[in-house]
Symmetry: C2
């Protein structure tokens, strides 16, 4: 049941990894081409899937206080060092590992993302609300052509989603009440946390985000304020 009159919405913030950009295809394509140009191959699909698999546990270490606040670039870099050994790439230089790590800055959008965001930008403040750090999100936006009005990284709050500090902090930074802000995402758990903080919610599915490992988020599992087919459809439903 919708609790939000959509006419109150002033800002639409997006989950990014998987929702706006196709991290899996982007990374596998980018790194396969990069190593091929150097004359070698690796199981990039396996490495990338394991890398993403380490994402939530690494943030949980910060959330539980086992690590001090650590930006996502550094969590990614730490995980990558382990995976390079596992995948038989022990001889990569620090510069090469840094290049691979910055693959997360080079992610490419889903086909509907840029046009849909451009339409939404005409009526709403749009931005990411992502666990990516500010530099990652800025570089990604430059490379992918994402026309954000503001970069809301959870780095600004020194908390990772789904901690409430992130959703409430974003609304406060924008000078808006929670109900004036919508979180748009392909992940039901992110939307549930945003709703618990009073934000409006919009779901659209990305059924190929995890490739063969996808096990959930094929459909809305609550009656979110908007359920759309993709970001273009979200723009239509939001009057753009």
């Amino acid at each position: 049941m919708s609790t939000h009159p959509l006419s109150e919405i002033r800002a639409i913030l997006f989950d990014v990894f998987g929702s706006v950009v196709d991290w899996r295809t982007s990374l596998i394509t980018d790194l396969t081409a990069w190593s091929a140009a150097r004359g070698w191959t690796a199981d990039w699909a396996g490495l990338v899937d394991d890398w993403r698999g380490a994402y939530a546990p690494s943030m949980d270490r910060v959330r539980k206080g086992e690590l001090p606040w650590t930006i996502l670039d550094e969590l990614h870099r730490s995980t990558l060092a382990d995976l390079a050994r596992k995948y038989g790439l022990p001889n990569l230089s620090d510069a090469e590992l840094d290049h691979i790590n910055r693959g997360w800055h080079r992610l490419q959008p889903w086909p509907d993302s840029v046009a849909g965001l451009a339409r939404l930008k005409t009526r709403y403040i749009i931005g990411p609300l992502s666990n990516g750090n500010v530099a990652l999100l800025v570089n990604m936006a430059k490379g992918a052509g994402l026309p954000w009005d503001v970069i809301c990284s959870t780095e600004l709050f020194a908390h990772y989603k789904p901690d409430p500090e992130t959703y409430l902090g974003a609304a406060k930074l924008l000078g808006l009440a929670p109900q004036q802000v919508m979180l748009a995402a392909a992940h039901n758990n992110d939307l549930a946390a945003a709703r618990a903080c009073g934000l409006a919610t919009a779901f659209f599915p990305r059924p190929s985000e995890y490739g063969p490992r996808q096990v959930r988020d094929y459909a809305a599992d609550q009656a979110w304020d908007v359920v759309a087919a993709d970001i273009g459809d979200l723009a239509s439903r939001m009057g753009c």
Copy 2:
């Protein structure tokens, strides 16, 4: 003497009030039209000049710890309440005072700003580095068409310029070394503080910023890394 190879620059951050937007003309024009539509007049030029005159002292109260961290919207609003009495406007409602206060969100750019920024955006990360709070800067960018890649408000650091935490904090957020970041401003004192933190610097004059009260910043008072005529000329000098 330039200490910065300009080829290292990755991001150009701008002072905003006076450098990118013409706060004085914008506010006087906006508020004169607004009160005229309601059938009354006021000495808006006097009020606006006094309002801006209270800007640095109000931030100094935060800097000295007399006030806890307070965003610029709130400092402006507090000063405005006093000025409304001084200028014979004691009967304004809270909603009317809020509308006047949000005049700072509605500032308009100098004629060269938008086109110059669009050129710089093709090669550099561009953003404000302003004492305006995030909401103010986001709303201003939407209204004035400023094509920022990132909103670096000093609110993110809970320090006002020229505290070093602001210049160094912006570079850190962008994942850049200070020498990879340029501050561009029409104010020599802002540039001096940025240079002391290791940032590159660019000056361009805005000789009518303060109207008849202008007493300084007609020209560069140090050998900044770039001295330009305006933001369009800065774009040319930066290879855009």
